[in-house]
């Protein structure tokens, strides 16, 4: 269970998040929606350990996550993507995928020279996993292309794959569908359902309401740093405040 309790964040005098609380249970997809500037990405950055909240707490299965240390949060099993996908553009797709795996024997300098056998074995195992992951994402034919040459949608899929190589308990996805063609959006939605079936906690920031409605079990709505509503996608669509602040009046 991922718990965010009474989290507040200010930038100078600006209150980006005001006492926001939410819960995301395992094997679920939780959507976070709201207008631009409502604090969605700030919330994601707090959970991911980029921002230090002024008050409040974030816990995963009862253990607090480190603030201000993204690498520790990532190592604790929280993977996150970015609106603009972050990849090593001048490494191949395959190399990027390999780098996603955790605890690699070959990342220790002494191992490189003293235990080459262990390094090679570990590398082989990771390579076969990376291969399987590329097939799963439909990127196998791109394995030897530079990651920078992929389309935006493919890059987003690749970053998800890189995170999955580390088998994270939590996935924080920042607008995976933005700027992605409809075919890939469907593929993403299918992938999200798989991740849910694997028991992962998925937190999804998205403006694409169709995707939210298709995949989310529960949706939280932010407006001006405040949580204004939560419920199933259907309940959210019927909520008057949400319609007024975000979804807009039907014509």
């Amino acid at each position: 269970m991922l718990r965010v309790r009474d989290v507040s964040v200010s930038f100078g005098g600006f209150r980006a998040l005001n006492a926001v609380s939410l819960e995301a249970p395992p094997a679920s997809i939780t959507g976070i929606i709201g207008p631009n500037g409502s604090g969605k990405s700030t919330l994601l950055n707090v959970v991911a350990g980029v921002y230090v909240p002024d008050s409040g707490a974030v816990t995963l299965n009862g253990h607090p996550l480190a603030y201000g240390r993204p690498e520790q949060v990532a190592a604790a099993g929280v993977g996150r993507t970015f609106q603009v996908p972050r990849l090593a553009h001048k490494l191949t797709v395959f190399q990027n995928m390999m780098a996603g795996a955790r605890d690699q024997a070959g990342e220790g300098v002494f191992n490189l020279f003293l235990r080459p056998g262990a390094v090679a074995r570990c590398e082989k195992e990771i390579a076969s996993r990376a291969e399987a992951m590329l097939k799963r994402l439909g990127l196998a034919h791109k394995a030897n292309d530079y990651a920078g040459s992929l389309s935006g949608g493919q890059q987003k899929l690749l970053t998800m794959g890189m995170l999955l190589m580390a088998d994270p308990a939590v996935l924080l996805l920042d607008e995976p569908a933005a700027g992605v063609n409809p075919v890939l959006i469907e593929q993403q939605a299918a992938l999200l359902h798989e991740l849910k079936a694997e028991g992962r906690i998925v937190l999804l920031i998205e403006h694409n309401m169709e995707m939210i409605a298709n995949v989310c079990d529960r949706v939280f709505v932010l407006d001006a740093g405040e949580l204004i509503a939560s419920g199933t996608p259907a309940q959210i669509r019927a909520d008057e405040r949400v319609v007024r602040s975000y979804l807009g009046m039907p014509a």
Partner: protein
């Protein structure tokens, strides 16, 4: 003439070590070290001071390596809290700090420098330089094509990405600095014993600039490229001396002209071939089986 060729080869080998060290930092990891001459100088001075104190050369070499590693960690202390842009300034400052200290401290020989016992046989010096270059090459190659090197390249492309993948960028930068600075210090120790003399004038920002020229010319991230770059730059440097003698150019014009030439090389490379003469190779894997 043969002696001169041997000397040239020796110097090229030593500068290749310095270039390979910079390549691990910048070419693989993206660390902009504008004080690359500092660990080299530390090694050279450690060799000289040990010799002055009557200690044997392995002791001097050991001291040089330890000094470089310790100083690299000290330089990292402020750098880890700043963005990578400041890395250049900090290393540049550290290098100058060392040079000015050596220049003004009588115990370090001041401007006159210190003498170091030279290799009795130039063939032996060449052999030692080539052996060190081979070791640096193998080390660089192993790192560049390993999972460790892969993560360094991720770090080079995007530090935030490395953190997102659960790696602590500072820990990797520290490891890289320790390896690269020890490598450069080893080159410095050897340099001192080859030249037989160390003085602050040998460890200026200009020297760092020349290593950078070799790296950019050869190809950042490419082990072979760096060695080729070092060879071209050193040969240009040596041949410009003959040219100057031939057309009777004063020494100061020559020295400045050489730097202008290197500057031109840098500009042309950045404009027309930023990947260098021997670009970093794409790590291609056999096509996945369908």
């Amino acid at each position: 003439m043969l002696d001169f060729a041997i000397y040239c080869l020796t110097i090229i080998a030593v500068w290749s070590v310095l270039g390979l060290s910079l390549n691990i930092q910048f070419g693989l990891t993206g660390l902009v070290n504008f004080g690359q001459i500092l660990p080299f100088g530390l090694g050279a001075y450690a060799a000289a001071l040990a010799a002055q104190a009557g200690l044997s050369w392995p002791v001097g070499a050991g001291l040089g390596l330890v000094a470089a590693v310790v100083v690299s960690l000290l330089v990292l202390l402020p750098a880890r809290r700043l963005s990578q842009d400041y890395w250049a300034l900090i290393t540049l400052g550290a290098g100058e700090l060392f040079r000015l200290t050596a220049l003004n401290a009588p115990s370090l020989g001041g401007a006159d420098g210190l003498t170091v016992p030279r290799f009795a046989d130039p063939h032996l010096a060449l052999g030692a330089a080539l052996a060190l270059m081979a070791a640096a090459w193998l080390l660089s190659h192993r790192i560049a094509h390993s999972p460790f090197g892969r993560m360094l390249k991720i770090l080079r492309e995007d530090e935030v990405l490395a953190a997102t993948l659960g790696r602590n960028p500072v820990a990797y930068q520290r490891t890289v600095s320790i390896i690269a600075w020890a490598m450069a210090a080893a080159g410095g120790v050897l340099y001192a014993h080859i030249v037989g003399y160390v003085s602050p004038a040998s460890f200026t920002v200009t020297e760092t600039f020349i290593v950078w020229t070799a790296l950019i010319l050869g190809g950042p991230g490419s082990t072979l490229g760096v060695v080729i770059g070092a060879a071209v730059v050193q040969l240009l440097s040596v041949s410009s001396r003959f040219l100057a003698a031939w057309i009777d150019l004063p020494a100061d014009v020559l020295a400045n002209g050489r730097l202008a030439l290197f500057g031109l090389v840098l500009v042309l490379m950045f404009l027309f071939r930023p990947q260098g003469l021997v670009p970093e190779k794409k790590e291609v894997r056999d096509a996945p089986r369908p």
